[in-house]
């Protein structure tokens, strides 16, 4: 197990180094001048070549690329992650302030996806081709197809025009005011969760359909066990493995989807910070947030792999 962990950790570090190099190069190769955002349209237009040289040097952008990359790695090592080009605040501060909101949204969406997806999947699997199964399948396809940011906008507008309500506009952490915090995260959490839940419903349905035709399920029924017990004790645990795998993959989609959904709900989380940084071409912020997302994605996938051994005694890592 330790050997396996060490190997996975090594691959994870290599993957993350690859991601960091890719994002570092891409951000510097892509067209677009961060000085437009810094100096504004008029200021940028009036900037002399000498001004440009001075400002680029101040921002550390005139150094050779290997030096800039090494400096970034140094910033990662110190935990500060570098400073925004613009207002001088460190990326670590941004992540500490906004990260908990985005993390809550991700966790909430995961919970919603399981709470909605699994029961729907079970119902569909045990009453295949029935009316409830048809409805469940149609709803699943609907929630997979509908873009989260669009649904988010509809919800925001409906709440506003019907109830004159809008969620709090500043970040309120769970430990500061749980009620206000819930109002901020519940919208994006549910919207993202419903989309994931649709995937989980479809995956759990197909896995269960496969498992319930197995001999051990037939044996359980033959023993006279109630259908609920057959499902919960025998069929479901054996059908969960692929569902857990897809949940890990879906977390990646949540991270990506949260960028647009946070924007639609006006939640000041990391997704929104990333959008703003991309618009401003604040490449220090962008590269660190993308790397953070990559770290989370790699970590979740390692945890999913490790959970297999725990869930299925037949699987052993050596």
């Amino acid at each position: 197990m330790q050997k396996y962990l060490a190997r996975r950790a090594f691959y994870a570090v290599i993957t993350l180094l690859g991601v960091s190099i890719s994002i570092f190069i891409i951000l510097r190769v892509l067209p677009g001048d961060p000085l437009v955002a810094i100096l504004g349209v008029e200021g940028h237009a009036r900037m002399t070549p000498a001004d440009r040289v001075r400002i680029m040097a101040d921002l550390g952008l005139s150094d050779p690329l290997p030096v800039q990359y090494a400096r970034w790695l140094g910033d990662i090592a110190t935990g500060r992650l570098g400073k925004s080009f613009f207002r001088g605040d460190t990326v670590a501060e941004q992540i500490l302030h906004r990260g908990p909101i985005s993390a809550e949204i991700a966790i909430l969406s995961l919970i919603v996806s399981w709470l909605v997806g699994l029961p729907v999947g079970i119902l569909s699997a045990f009453k295949p081709n029935s009316l409830p199964d048809g409805v469940a399948r149609a709803m699943s396809v609907l929630f997979i197809a509908v873009p989260g940011f669009w649904l988010g906008m509809l919800i925001v507008l409906a709440m506003l025009f019907w109830f004159g309500y809008k969620a709090p506009i500043l970040i309120v952490h769970l430990w500061q005011n749980p009620w206000e915090n819930l109002q901020i995260v519940i919208g994006p959490g549910v919207v993202l969760g419903l989309a994931q839940g649709a995937y989980i419903a479809r995956m759990s349905r197909s896995c269960l359909l496969e498992v319930i035709s197995e001999d051990f399920v037939r044996t359980a029924r033959a023993k006279g066990l109630k259908e609920g017990l057959v499902v919960m004790r025998h069929a479901l645990p054996n059908a969960l493995l692929p569902v857990i795998t897809i949940s890990g993959v879906l977390l990646g989609f949540v991270l990506g989807g949260s960028v647009a959904v946070e924007q639609a709900f006006g939640v000041p989380g990391l997704g929104r910070a990333l959008v703003t940084a991309v618009i401003e071409r604040d490449i220090i912020v962008v590269q660190n947030l993308v790397l953070l997302y990559a770290v989370i994605f790699v970590l979740v996938n390692v945890l999913v792999d490790l959970s297999y051994a725990w869930l299925d005694p037949r699987i052993r890592y050596s």
Binding site: V36, I38, L39, G40, E42, A45, I169, L170, P268
Partner: protein
């Protein structure tokens, strides 16, 4: 050079001529400002903004505006993201009256004089004014501020520098008197407008010295303004409190100012005001603004913005576009009323030509709408455009134009409409290339486009400011690389002409020249939509020009 002050101060020489001269010189702003405040509230020569006697004291104003500046240096900025949240902490030498947004009134300069030859501006500064850190405000601070604006240090770029190009020397006479000596005169309205610009906040000399003249990353540098910094959360909120030592006694009325960050024209901004999360919202989208208008207990305000929406024709890259007939044809092929309609749910716009359509020197709107290119019926203009294309040798149209579009909803909507108008009316075919804002400016400055659509701003409404910045031979926003020696010569005369009547005639002539040889193709002029709850009193921007001059909130109070 005539020093009006020294002559007029001789005792016993107050004849009719001297009196008239003095009346004209003491507070030239008072001349510009024929709308001086009523005697009684303030002296006839002291039009300083005074508190509304009916104003209630106290309360917190929650104001929503774009509040995520790329840096904190107001002088170096050109965006509401700075002036919106930071302005309440600072004062300027002169200011536009919050009552009408136009009249120039005293601010840190209690009064001022302009020499008869227009080459010397003398400002008498208030005594007893303190910066928020407790330091005294003196003429040295004014000198340091304006020396920096007119001649920025290396690595510092200030868009307003050209406004003070003719200031040769700034001389501190004593701690409360300062002279701006000009190399040549400029129209009074132009110069006073420059001194009253909300961008030109007065900062401490020591602050500039301590930071090598660059305040981009200095969040809280002391001002003398009505509010003091309390706290700030990036891209969320900036909180300020009433400055208890403010020199203008009785102001501000409100105790606390909370400035919330929202991007302009977003449904989120509209939702914040309609749900009552904020009291006042600036830069509303039209849909939210209309809802505010319909809502009882709320007010919807509209006023002109200092921005032209236009597209540029690259004269250096494309031979056809270098021909004035082709550019005029493109200009005439635009159905501007439809272009305004196209974006009516995205951003508020109005039809205009090459000079702000609401400026007193530009062609009045009824007259403008009789001209080709501005009529509600586009047919006569299109016929003329087709004729011009034939004369220029492009009767069969032009193909493969690269049309660079800023990735902003209004520009994307317009680009499609313009593409269709060009194809339908003139058989000009273009391919749209939508790019991020930063890329757009790279491409525009590098000349990598045939057509490019965007918006540009000016500091002043005065034509000389836009003739230099937008249409000047080396103007920073002359993306077409347009030159017209006759126009540049006329613009230079307009800049120097101090007689308003003659200047107006010259501006009209300049407009005619631009119509025939367009340096850009005007699409429309922006308006600003504000919305607020009726409990917010003392603030009505309906006659303001732009969102950069009257943004201090010392005038507001809560009922």
């Amino acid at each position: 050079m005539t020093d009006h002050t020294s002559k007029s101060e001789r005792p016993g020489t107050l004849d009719r001529r001297t009196f008239l001269k003095r009346a004209g010189a003491i507070g030239a702003g008072a001349v510009v400002a024929s709308r001086l405040s009523a005697p009684g509230l303030a002296g006839a020569q002291d039009a300083t903004f005074r508190p509304d006697p009916a104003a209630k004291k106290g309360g917190t104003l929650r104001y929503a505006v774009h509040n995520a500046p790329a840096h904190f240096d107001v002088h170096q900025s050109g965006t509401v993201a700075n002036i919106g949240p930071q302005s309440p902490m600072y004062d300027t030498l002169l200011r536009r009256s919050p009552k009408d947004g136009q009249t120039i009134i005293p601010d840190l300069a209690q009064r001022w004089e302009i020499s008869a030859d227009g080459k010397k501006y003398t400002f008498y500064l208030r005594k007893g004014v303190k910066f928020h850190d407790g330091a005294d405000f003196t003429a040295e601070d004014v000198k340091a501020t304006y020396d920096r604006i007119r001649n920025p240090p290396k690595g510092v770029v200030i868009p307003r520098t050209p406004l003070f190009a003719t200031v040769g020397e700034i001389v501190v006479i004593d701690p409360h008197k300062i002279e701006f000596r000009m190399t040549e005169p400029r129209p009074k309205a132009y110069m006073l407008g420059a001194f009253a610009s909300g961008w030109n906040i007065i900062v401490r000399k020591k602050t500039l010295d301590d930071n090598q003249g660059n305040l981009r990353q200095v969040m809280n540098y002391p001002g003398t303004g009505p509010f003091r910094h309390v706290s700030r959360k990036d891209k969320e909120i900036w909180i300020m409190e009433r400055n208890p030592d403010y020199w203008n006694k009785g102001l501000p009325s409100i105790d606390k100012l909370e400035i919330y960050h929202f991007l302009p024209f977003t449904p989120e901004l509209g939702a914040s005001i309609l749900s009552g999360r904020v009291d006042y919202a600036r830069l509303l989208d039209p849909v939210s603004w209309r809802k505010v208008k319909e809502t009882q207990g709320m007010t919807a305000g509209v006023f002109n913005q200092s921005v032209i929406q236009a597209f540029w024709t690259n004269m250096q890259k494309n031979k056809a576009l270098a021909d004035p007939k082709v550019r005029r044809a493109i200009h005439l092929a635009m159905d501007r009323h439809t272009l305004v309609e196209v974006v009516k749910d995205t951003a508020p716009m109005q039809v205009g030509g090459f000079v702000y359509p609401f400026h007193e020197m530009s062609t009045p709107r009824p007259e403008l709408e009789k001209k080709l290119g501005y009529q509600k019926d586009p047919k006569p203009a299109v016929q003329e455009a087709q004729k011009l294309m034939k004369e220029a040798g492009y009767g069969n149209g032009i193909k493969n134009l690269d049309f660079v579009v800023r990735d902003i909803p209004t520009f994307k909507l317009w680009a499609v409409a313009i593409q269709a108008m060009l194809k339908e009316h003139l058989n000009i075919e273009c391919t749209l290339r939508v790019v991020q804002t930063s890329v757009w400016f790279d491409e525009a400055q590098a000349g990598n486009f045939d057509l490019a659509i965007s918006a540009i701003v000016s500091t002043l409404m005065d034509p000389s400011d836009i003739f230099s910045a937008w249409y000047g031979k080396d103007g920073p926003q002359n993306y077409s690389r347009w030159t017209n020696p006759a126009f540049h010569d006329l613009a230079s005369q307009i800049e120097r002409e101090t007689d308003d009547t003659r200047r107006k005639a010259m501006v009209r002539k300049a407009e005619d020249m631009l119509e025939m040889d367009p340096p850009l193709i005007p699409v429309s002029y922006e308006q600003i939509y504000d919305g607020w709850y009726n409990k917010v009193k003392g603030q009505n921007p309906s006659t303001y020009f732009g969102i950069y001059d009257v943004v201090r909130w010392d005038n507001a109070w809560l009922a």
